[in-house]
Assembly symmetry: C2
Homo-oligomer: 387 residues x 2
Amino acid sequence: MANHRLVGLGVDDIDTPAIVVDLDAMERNLTRMAAFAQRHGIRLRPHAKMHKSAVLAELQVRGGAVGVCVQKTSEAEALAAAGVNDIYISNEVIAPAKLRRVAALARTLSLREGGRLALAVDSVQGIQRLAEVLAGVLPDAAAVLDVFVEIDVGQGRCGVPPGDKAVALVQEIQLYPALRFAGLQAYHGRAQHLRSPAQRREVIARAVADVVTTRELIEAAGFTVPLVTGAGTGTFAQETASGVYGELQAGSYLFMDADYASNEPDAAQPVFEHALFIKSQVVSVRAGHAVCDAGHKSHAIDSGLPRVHALEGQPDLEYANGGDEHGLLRPAGVDDSLPMLGDTVWLIPGHCDPTVNLHDTMIGVRGGLEAGIVERVIRVDARGALT
Amino acid sequence: MANHRLVGLGVDDIDTPAIVVDLDAMERNLTRMAAFAQRHGIRLRPHAKMHKSAVLAELQVRGGAVGVCVQKTSEAEALAAAGVNDIYISNEVIAPAKLRRVAALARTLSLREGGRLALAVDSVQGIQRLAEVLAGVLPDAAAVLDVFVEIDVGQGRCGVPPGDKAVALVQEIQLYPALRFAGLQAYHGRAQHLRSPAQRREVIARAVADVVTTRELIEAAGFTVPLVTGAGTGTFAQETASGVYGELQAGSYLFMDADYASNEPDAAQPVFEHALFIKSQVVSVRAGHAVCDAGHKSHAIDSGLPRVHALEGQPDLEYANGGDEHGLLRPAGVDDSLPMLGDTVWLIPGHCDPTVNLHDTMIGVRGGLEAGIVERVIRVDARGALT
């Protein structure tokens, strides 16, 4: 059955494996995060690399978000094509062919009300290439591309070190009228998954100090820093409390995953619920284990295997790796009961972003996993948007 | 640039990240495997869950394969829609809605020349459900579905234990005129990745003994076992040498991956070359590491991170996990040289099957990775075929 025909049917009618979104839980997460941002007077620009979906981006914007982030040019294109207007590619783009697409998209979005494209940079060469391409595509300089300078505040990936190198990039940006220095990109991804709030606080305090130092150097060179953007679902209360960050990029809060749920909660942050599940079915049973039809072609395992989400009356089970197409289910509770052939088993994926990327659609259910009704089928617009 | 426009252009024009198939290497692999099967008089039914592509399945069939295996009903549907006629779903199907699709596909294929669908079973209930659905869809019993009884020869996943339980399933199959007992499914997946040939031989010897015992019991009950099917790229010479297996299901031989390349070679098997690569680009460089644009959204990491495939003159690099969208590249050779911003870096994925599943197309290149020309764009027909 094509997924769009599911609308109005019950959870039982969803074929497996499939992503099921608990819309009630998702909307509570959305509201909690929006309320947090509003209460603290901080901008929210959720990372749409998490859900890859234009309708969910629009929901977030209607809930107060200023726009969304993405990581790839093709993600920006997919979301823009589906109606999202304010997009920040929080990542470096180097290939001239891709930069031409960035420039074309910047022009397209600049013609829409509230439309805008921004990009991160971390090299002089990257800025020069970008400016060169923009000069070809936006010759009238009517449209301007916002550029964030990425500094590495501990993630150990892209970005220049905090300090002088960032100043040099800000100076380089000034040379090109089609570029506007929009601020600093300062995201600490690894901090998000440190388990204790104290560890997360300590690491983010160092990141904030790095941002402050860099900002002072940029200001001393005669430039203002319009915005500092960063933060994720594990730490955003810390970036907010710093008073230095002006924009939060958290994305996973909307769905939550097993890995984020392993963090000890931080009292300064709202509590988020699991809203993303894999519905799977038992296809084989024997003494000691059952096998379900969801393997790592259905859910990403980079942040660990999924957890089994036992509904009332269902046995406690542990999920073990059964390859791409299967999951092994073993008793995890006090008794050794197993599900029966044909039973539904719900899984909470370890990591939402790459799990969503494995699916063309997500089935949005109203009224819970036990007896809910399919309300909408959510297209994963940027599924497979790699370039 | 849409990928189909790449045909005739050079490797340099392929945007990143992308799957690039070295067609010369792939065709050598295809020929070696076909020659092996022909020399030993054994049927070859490659597992198309590896490449998920109808044109590659057709290439294999033109090279002597009797058809292909898949793991999912929707994979079978996708390949059948793209012209593949002889398909074996080497997996259990339990949901009535899916079984109706199996039945419909069986009828569709039975109307094609050489068309045929087969399915694995491992439970009485599964057989009963299948027969019930088939009775509705194929009421004239003109078309018959081939059913393989899966026995677990050491994989520890689906299948009944070798012995009496398999006999009971064969007896159950006889009750339904729309079902034909086609033989035993006996695949030992874990054996494929044992590193030493001696280990692999030992484990497959036990699997063969299990098959022989089970076959004798089935024959003693008055039934013949038309075929034993199984084997993978790591062990197929052993199943072949047993004289018990009549059909090989190896799939990965066509592309090879970093995990299979870690096996110590078995002199009894042909040597296969890497034919599947991820083309990636360096998007950030700093002291100590570079960052490329291929993370685990571009390649599966269930069997380990990708290896960097250094072309002549390129530095030896090690790939470290940089998340969904990035890879960290560190010096691995005697010197500590790194690639430059914008450079191409080639990766060999850890596991081909789920890597292919992340891409809509694969770019087939003739003439090598250095200066080859794009000859064809290969559609991943069963990409995302989960159900």
